[in-house]
Symmetry: D2
Subunit: 227 residues, 4 copies
């Protein structure tokens, strides 16, 4: 899996803080933004974050290039509807070689790995036979394993990212989308730390768990979660 | 594939017509609705439909039970973000026997069918082996073919259904989601004919094609499309 | 203010419960729904509600006719984006007589009431003068007071309604949209009690307050809130 | 009315073009983006624009500071649900002096202007009286005219902007939101010309009108519309 940040709203913390301030001021957003340095913006964002007033966070947008996640993971990802996606098409692009995500549980077991890799190779061979027989790629791919790799460009705003992190960094989420979420959080923390300093599942953000069946191993901090 | 209508807004045509009328009247929606019989509502909806004023169509909602579509098709389906989905989970439900969608192009070719069915069976066998070795179902499924069957409950409002039909009944869409869209259109036409009498791709609705590369075989009518 | 339920998903509790069960079963949604009576559905929904798994609640939809709220209130209302609205147009409908919402704080003060009613009448008189001078209604209305009455048809699904109630039944919301939310909650409780038995601001639902500045008068129950 | 661009996705044309290309290539989005200069990206975007494939346009986001539009206009604006808004609150900010938008039709008529300005001043005077009597600002504002000025921060992506321009630059839209849309189009054209070179109502984009009652004065080009 490779995740990169393709683009993001410049000066995001000041834009979000100015938008939030506008609601309670009689001044233009531009003058509010000019009056905010990074430190003041940070302090104000921490306050919004703690009180759950996330709507101004929507003004900051982040675009990721995601390569090498499975179609299992992309099917989960695109269920987040407040986001934008462009995905590599298996209808138009021919799958020339075996590219499948190996789950860590499988990788850690020699016998399972053998079964897995042989089955993935056999599936791709059957796919290639169908293509060679003249069948449409879009139909031959019905044989490709769910673990087949895909590529996407994904855009989410900072409010949706907080929501995404709260669900997908929880230990109850599947390992692959958790890995993806962790990479995304690392990237946005690097460019907009004050927007994401307090982000993640309920154990990290509120110190409590809302799941019906808690995992029993709450994270103590964002740092632990990213370690 | 099996598609059924689980529920829908009762008296949908009159609800939509009353909402549309409200914008231009000085009367309550309730009195407007009482003043509309099915015939008047139909005439008014035909007018809205032709002039592209679809926002009142959002007040009518339709819930479908979809069984036996492939995960290829469900991955395309859930890209429609103005809709609601509940989908059978492969993380929690064990896949006990081979249930895979056979594309018509494959079914029509003896050699391709043999390759396809053997490969699907082999993939499921490998899946079962991994489960027997104690691996999590959620990881074993990385071997299941994209064509594996799934189940969903899907809710869309009438405006989004029009949009869905315009894209997914076009011959450029893949055959499986076109089959699904056709079943859905049949079902909603049966219970709310005046909401959907003019629905489908641009060739049917406007008599012209907006695609960069037209298919060259435009539909003449909804009837032809459903035949 | 008058709020009525124009339409709603029939048998909503069973539809939602069947959709939720589908995720963890190997059965069709139809058979799951047939296997659920009202009592079983209720028990299951209470479980979903407590654990915050609201996505199946989206399959149930509710359409309201709202008459006689102010444009202050409707401007707040339409900020809820996961909903559908049709609103009476002041561009096309002439405002023939004074119809303005009198805030309770004003109504409780004789001097304030006098000022308010005189000013509202004067504003309407000026509006009528402009219309009589031949100006477009859409421009004359720039003089109508914010409190002027409007009508809407509003559709929300049960998930969004829970979100709406959590924000708009809080004592920090303005009295008018709280009155509206209270009427809406009464109406949906009457037709789908098991979907809404635990609904409202955080004090009611979780027993705690998430506001930065709590009001200090938490509600103990839905009943108290509706009393 | 004053409209400024607070922030936007940097290098938006190349980001959108790379995302669009990803669907049909076997390459990373990053490498596709590096392979695109402004000219190639432009040519590709023109192709997407003409064929109506707008989904990759969602990856580019634009944030505007809007000052001095009326609450009539902001009520229309926030009906666009695929956007983010932060608006100055009349609950918390006291309205110290008369700030009301004068419609051009009124400004062009001496008698109408006199009536309008006197009525607006009288309304504000009544508002101030109520505040002086100790009434909450949030209730006193029920007397402020619809034309009262407000401020917002608005974020839309390029796809929603195209949709917004198609509806709100049509001569059938009210003059104030058309003025706003025109300012917004000017601003995005300056920073991302290839994303918006073909944008506006149906007469400009398709050369035909889809309205039930056409205005009879179609625009010939974006230039005419902006003149």
């Amino acid at each position: 899996m490779s995740v990169r940040l393709l683009a993001h709203t410049p000066d995001a913390a000041r834009v979000v803080a100015a938008a939030a301030r506008l609601c309670y001021s009689d001044a233009t957003a531009l003058s509010l933004m000019e009056g905010l340095d990074e430190t003041k913006a940070s302090a104000f964002l921490a306050h919004l974050n703690r009180s759950g007033h996330f709507s101004p966070f929507e003004h900051a947008s982040f675009t990721f290039a995601v390569d090498g996640i499975s179609r299992v993971c992309s099917h989960q990802l695109v269920r987040h509807r407040l986001a934008s996606y462009s995905q590599q098409s298996q209808r138009y692009v021919e799958m020339g070689s075996v590219r499948v995500v190996l789950p860590p549980s499988v990788a850690g077991d020699a016998e399972a790995s053998r079964v897995f890799l042989e089955a993935a190779a056999a599936a791709h061979e059957a796919y290639a036979k169908l293509v060679a027989l003249g069948l449409p790629k879009e139909d031959a791919r019905y044989l490709l394993p769910h673990g087949w790799e895909t590529r996407l460009v994904v855009t989410m705003n900072a409010r949706e990212l907080h929501h995404f992190f709260s669900l997908r960094l929880c230990r109850r989420a599947q390992w692959e989308i958790r890995d993806l979420a962790r990479e995304m959080l690392r990237l946005v923390l690097a460019v907009a730390p004050s927007l994401f300093s307090l982000s993640g599942p309920s154990c990290v953000v509120r110190g409590t768990c809302g799941e019906a069946r808690p995992c029993g191993r709450p994270y103590a901090s964002v740092e632990e979660l990213l370690a």
